[in-house]
Amino acid sequence: MTTATKETTQSTITTSVKEKIEKVDRRDAKLALAHIYVAFIALFLGGIAGLLQVLVRSGSFDLPSFINYYQVLTVHGVLLGLVLTTFFIMGFQAAGVSRSCGTFTDKQRAIGWAGFWVSTVGLVAAAAMILTNEASVLYTFYAPLQAHWIYYLGLALVIVGSWLSSLAQVMRFNQWRKEHKGQTTPLLGFMVVVNNFLWFVATLGVAVEVLVQLIPWSLGLVERVDVLLSRTLFWYFGHALVYFWLLPAYMIWYVVIPKVIGGKIFSDALAKLSFMLFLILSVPVGLHHQFTEPGIDPLWKFIQTILTMFVVVPSLMTAFSLFATFELRGRELGGKGIFGWFKKLPWNDSRFLLPFIAMVAFIPGGATGIVNASYQLNELVHNTIWVTGHFHLTVATGVALTYIGAAFWLIPHLNGRKLTKRANSMANCVGILWAIGMAIMSGAMHVAGLLGAPRRSAYSTYGGSEQATEWISYQVAQAIGGSILFIAILIITALIIYVSFFAPKGEEEFPIGEVAAGSAPTPAILENFKVWGVIMIAVIIFAYTIPIFDIINNSPLGSVGYKLW
């Protein structure tokens, strides 16, 4: 073979390998799409429940007699807080691993499908209990409210299914590592594994709560439940759940956005360090959700407050890294002055605009989160609708709008269609509507919360109380904002149907950025899961052993179950 022929053959092979890895394999795409479709059905149904809630709270709308407010609230929380997120994450991560590390083996894909079906069966079981009014206990399912045991079992199955899906992704990543010994791991694949690791350790808490406490109690095998222990186990899981939602949004911000804007990832090492810090700091902070609970020593609440505040570090590292990516690209395009680069960003591209709006919303979301997690300031906002306003900025905008923006290019990538110009413009409208609706709704929630309005509760004038009268105009504002958001959800649903089944056939890119040429190499320690795993477990043992020992050791009689609906 001549040298020229050799080179041509080599070039053909390289192109072929490149094409293979740049396009998610069709079989993996089906797995990812199955998850994503369930997620967006959940968004539509959960959105209807959200609209009903804000209308009820405005005081000018009554639900039909066959459904009650707390049922609607449970549907909203479970579908959007658990189903939309978990299913989208597993779908996006499956596609992300397949794209960055290579196609799943048949065995890995079969495990992924098993995970999907186990989760889906669990979802149907839990949904059946909510719809038959057997489980109006909200997505936090706080004891002593007692749901039907099938509800708890259903949620447990959703989690077990997600473990299987995660396992498939981790196996593919490990396979890549074995095949590429000594090489720096693909950033997206690495991030997926961090998130799965975090998810597995976090869900152990809620798994113990559900399997050891709530299912035997709801089956009548034991009469009473230790309420404080159940809530502590829930929040061991519950705050890490927030990071499980957030890290896939960060994956899109760190890895996808640089490619979309034509720039580079600022630093592979900084991104990996930030994810490892999230890994060790996400779980041992749950007590900041329980500041008002008696029975937990204030010292441990204080210690977990400090650990919570450390999360600011990787958050600001992320902010810096993203701004740097934007600035370097904007200056390349001729942006001058301190902020001249800002104008050069691709504002008409929905793949950028929607995540960007999400990032902006996350800034006040993070700031209000620091108030929630400040030991004393929490007294100001605890159980008020301020908290609901906070997580509608973080999860319902920072996270959800990033997922929505990603779905508009990811679905066509996976099913061989195109995001057309018109669809892109509609997607931009969604982003703007979402920003307006959420600013009104979440803003009104924050103000009403500072005025003392409670979260979770249905409309009430509280016997004509003067203080409750102050909240009503803000509740009307929430209904206006919520209605705008619902219009956005209708457009999103239409767009998802369009890009899934009607958009023209073609190739849509799965953008993955390259690391900037001048950035420092990634130290091997940042990719050593054993080291970071040990640190994570050590911090969790430190933060939780004594509080849980105290709770069990000083446990009262426990509570029987209540069904107040």
Partner: protein, 41 residues
């Protein structure tokens, strides 16, 4: 001595100020709530 012209591509001043801006939002929200807290409790 010749002056070396710094490439504007490597300028991250905007990033620094924007990150400070994020910190400033955090501080303003926290101080506002702290003031309310002190006034009420």
């Amino acid at each position: 001595m010749t002056k070396q012209k710094k490439s504007s591509d490597d300028n991250l001043k905007g990033t620094l100020f924007a990150t400070f801006g994020v910190g400033l939002v955090i501080i303003i929200v926290w101080v506002y709530c702290f003031d309310l807290f002190i006034g009420r409790f």
